[in-house]
Assembly symmetry: C2
Homo-oligomer: 257 residues x 2
DNA sequence: GTCATTTTTGACGGTTCGTCATATTAAGTG
DNA sequence: CACTTAATATGACGAACCGTCAAAAATGAC
């Protein structure tokens, strides 16, 4: 009896472990598939990517692949989700920098820029996932997941904003527009990076120039909402470099080559 | 002799006329095809659009359609070009408003917003045409045309900026960054509208809210670059409405329904 | 060892794309 | 008007791609 109970206990425990193992295995395979997909995109471009190629390049059959992704666009969406995950991890790290709150805010922007530089394909997937072609076809679950991650990112910005308001770095009468502020920051970051990534390819603008352009845009906006210290009082170009050196040194040096 | 000459003259003239007629005819047909394509997209979504459907819905054969567009993405690019043409026409009209230079600048932003509202599909095509999936496949000629139109739009912004600088509405020491300023405005406008068009569909945000969000973003940025009169000194919500009433009354009232 | 359930497989049908040999039309010429 | 030549239009066709599904294999319970 006790024995039996213990076995069932063990058994259920085992089942739980197995389930989580299986789920883990499935999750791992999904990441593996996404990796293969990204490699194909890197080598053959977005238009060169096909589900058949993915099936050929991975060790699973078509049915298994379609078990993970409802369709091609769903896979794009999954790539976008991984990209956002990566971005969030960068953003969280960036908050560790020593300095003013505005410098921390700069760090958030720096993270997005870094993402677009380290994994351009991934960043482009995030862009494409906002495109109707993807939104119309991706699975509901995936789209919801994406929205959740978007909320996570805006939550990071929001939190920083409210501490800046309570600490007085942003004028308190802005408090009623906190949500608007967050949206403004996000719009600027998104718009700048989206345009820059195209410009960089089309017109061969140097990385330095694009970084400066981005910093210029952010500074203008942050000055506009009166986030102290203003760019006239502080050398944010210096801060920008510092973020790279202090928080993202490994990534930045890897990027140099 | 004279007669003969006159006939050849007539003839060449006739040829010229014919050629231009033919070219005109071809150009018209292209617009016709683009119209049909847009209708299909409106009714069946972007993912529901296929070249076969286009061929079925127009009075021309597949070969003729492919005579106009190198491939599907090239057609998207063509739609984007038409969209930008329309946007430019709106922007030019918007400059006619009476008021400060900053209000004229608001007009430029208003134009883009209006475009995204009147012809959402067209606006989305402009977005999609910045996507690698399209950029990789569209024909060279079309892509170049697109770049030219982009330059035209930025030229409008640039011109306004430099008059604002010379007139003193923007501090003169900003002059060295004129290009950066233009890029900042463009980034903000693009980012805001791109995010808003998704938000509006996903989260059912009202048009009023989205308009306010956009205006908030612009004001923050323009304040940041010190474009006088600042938003604290002037009711730009009023200006925004005025632009709609004075310059785009027809479009706005058509949009009310 | 057997059965039920889940997962995997890849052959297959249906779409979609884009091409190309052929047919048609138009322009030029005598 | 007849004839040649050049330009344009046609739609049948092959190739590629997508996504499904019945059958096979694997897994786990008893």
């Amino acid at each position: 009896m006790t024995f039996k109970q213990s076995t069932t206990e063990k058994s259920t425990c085992f089942i739980h472990k197995l389930l989580s193992n299986r789920e883990q295995k499935i999750a791992n395979r999904e990441l593996e598939l996404l990796n293969v997909a990204e490699k194909i995109m890197i080598h053959e471009g977005f238009s060169g990517f096909t589900m058949d190629k993915l099936v050929a390049d991975c060790n699973y059959s078509k049915g298994t692949v379609y078990n993970h992704f409802a369709n091609k666009e769903d896979l794009f969406c999954a790539l976008s989700i991984e990209g956002m995950r990566f971005l969030i991890s960068l953003m969280q790290r960036s908050l560790n920098i020593q300095g003013t709150l505005r410098e921390k805010c700069l760090g958030l922007f720096y993270s997005q820029r870094l993402h677009s530089q380290i994994h351009p394909t991934s960043f482009l997937c995030v862009l494409m996932a906002k495109t109707p072609a993807v939104l119309e076809r991706a699975s509901k679950a995936r789209l919801e997941h994406q929205i959740i991650l978007e909320q996570e990112t805006t939550a990071l910005v929001d939190k920083l904003l409210s501490t800046a308001i309570t600490s007085g770095d942003i004028n308190e009468n802005r408090k009623q527009h906190e949500e608007s502020l967050c949206f403004a920051l996000w719009s600027m970051s998104f718009g700048s990076n989206a345009l820059l990534i195209n410009a960089a390819e089309a017109k061969a603008v140097s990385r330095l120039d694009t970084n400066n352009a981005l910093l210029f845009n952010i500074n203008a906006l942050l000055d506009g909402i009166g986030w102290k210290p203003l760019s006239s009082e502080c050398d944010y170009q210096q801060s920008w470099l510092r973020i790279g050196n202090e928080v993202f040194s490994k990534e930045v040096s890897a990027l140099q080559e």
